[in-house]
Amino acid sequence: MSGRGRVAAWTLISAFVLGACGCAASNPARPGPQPPSRGLMAHSGQLSRLDPKQQAVELRTELEELFGQDVFVGVRVARSRLRGDPDFTQAAVSALSRNSDDLTTLLGRVYGSARAEEFRRLWESQQEGLVAYARAASQHDQAAKAAARGQLDASPRRIARYLDDLTSGGAAAPVISSHLRTHINDLMHFTDAYAAGDYATAYRIERVDYERQFRLGTVIAAGIVGGRGQDLPADFDSPLTRLQSALGELLGEHLQLAVDAMGAALRGGPEFRADAAQVNADTEQLASAFGVLFGPQNGRRFASVWGDHVDALISYSGAVAAQDQNGKAKALAQLRAFVQHLSTFLSTSTQGRLKAPAVAALLRMHDSELVQQLDAYARGDYVTVHRVIYEAYQHMFDVAKILSAAIGPTIAARLPKGGVQTGGGGMASSR
């Protein structure tokens, strides 16, 4: 990494850490207006237009993040509705609105707010259908389920047509429609499985759908940036962008799954085991990724340190449920140890490109957000729960950006060099 690149990366880290501390300090539980989301939208100044060619990577990562987030928030609405937890549902629906608000704002920055408003109308109509389906399932009302299914039937086609038109054919309607139809079917299957107490199936579906919707963000971003049949900017799908995207997907998923497992641990919910199994699956994928990036031995080391992190979070939740002050203190001490171990690991693995104190600040913030949302949940402050989760999820994508900016050059320096000499006779010459 060049000196200039290092400065740029650490300017980002500093800005992120400082910004996050500001967030944590101003932490009122406010049921009213939502704070602005960061990223492209936060810098928009409301009116400035976004140039997709110039900001292709940011557009891609933000669309991936938001479409992925929609799955977890939507599932949280359905699950709390089935659990009979109306206040939680209410706050989750606000988070769902915030997500579609952010998507609309992002599209509005490219195409103007007037054209983007149509997206909000179509998208929220689809969300309403899914909420109606969950409500019907909770009431064992087959007729209402069928009505919700009917309401949802035309949604993929409508949204796909709209996006195709918006992007002048860049986001092809058949592709988008197929994505969305499978998404709707998955969420209905999730609802049915959860209602039947088949949590293992429900959570498997949730993760598959998250991955699919995350990729829907990629497809739509490519449609916006490239248009029909045009070349994408080189950095849109560069190896580094793909690494950042993949890390963001896994870290964002970790955040969401950890939140759900902690909530289930606090409630003593029967779905805890299935929740925890999915957290483990995500941990395995993260460890596998680090094993590829830094070698199998480091992959195992990462898995061990990350496992400490997950264990501490679950222990903390159990201690809060049991009102065990010693247990809480012990779990928090474990989290502090995790921060030290992982920041050292990442700094060493990237040959100092990531500075341990700065990484530690990021990790502390991540832990603090997870603890904060759990504490808010325990006191029934669901507005704060959803606000903190919303922002904590977004922060994971900032972390992915910082990690990939440091990991990329570390890995690039170790790649094999040049082509290969795999011919001997000239028989294949210019065939």
Binding site: L243, T283, L293, A303, G419
Partner: protein, 210 residues
């Protein structure tokens, strides 16, 4: 940014839908009661509370077994795979046997996140070699990789590219993007009889299907 005032009718109807739900309170309520316990109201039978205290996170991960065979039906390739390392100049080692392909064992294994790399010769001093027809592959062709534990992974070809060796895009070919992919590499283009080397490389990009 205060976004709530801008929420249009559609968003209001989403919230309104909730207000129709019996027992669904508005935002003006005080702190809610402790989180409800248990699963969905519709779950058929009472269940044991979960063993939260007994939970222990996973601390390992599944690493696919090493690849041992390669099949490419479209170009009639069936070969065992040998391990390959790197040469002193940083480039990849190539198989000693013209008719056997090899895999770069210091990169991702097939099935792991990232691009697994398999190399084979296009020809020998005596005739065609194992990857003689590699350049004939087309998008959607299938590539199968057999692992040491008996599993068979299926990849689908995405694209085939030819690069001059002196402009070989190492980053695009080798960088571990965390997508489960395969690269098949051989020689192509013009044969330089002076150096007895081809001037280009053919690279086939494939992604994991199952």
């Amino acid at each position: 940014m205060n976004r709530w005032p801008a929420i249009p009718l559609a968003a209001m109807s989403l919230a309104g839908l909730l207000l129709l739900v019996p027992g669904c309170g508005g935002p003006g309520r005080g702190p809610a009661a402790a989180p409800s316990r248990g699963g969905p109201a519709t779950a058929a039978e009472p269940r044991e509370p979960p063993d939260v205290a007994g939970f222990r996170s996973v601390r390992t991960y599944d690493r696919p077994a090493p690849p041992v065979r390669l099949w490419i039906p479209a170009i009639a390739v069936s070969t065992r795979l040998v391990r390959l390392g790197r040469l002193a100049d940083g480039s990849l080692e190539v198989p000693h046997d013209w008719n056997t392909a090899g895999w770069f064992d210091r990169g991702p294994r097939p099935g792991q996140p990232g691009p697994a790399v398999i190399l084979g010769h296009v020809d020998s001093t005596a005739g065609p070699a194992v990857f003689f027809r590699l350049r004939e592959l087309r998008p959607r062709d299938i590539v199968r990789v057999g692992l040491a534990d008996g599993r068979i992974l299926v990849f689908r070809v995405q694209r085939v590219r030819r690069y001059p060796k002196d402009e070989f895009p190492a980053k695009a070919v080798y960088f571990p993007t965390l997508n489960r992919e395969l690269r098949l590499i051989t020689c192509g283009g013009t044969f330089d009889y002076a150096s007895r080397n081809y001037l280009d490389n053919i690279v086939v990009y494939a992604t994991l299907v199952t």
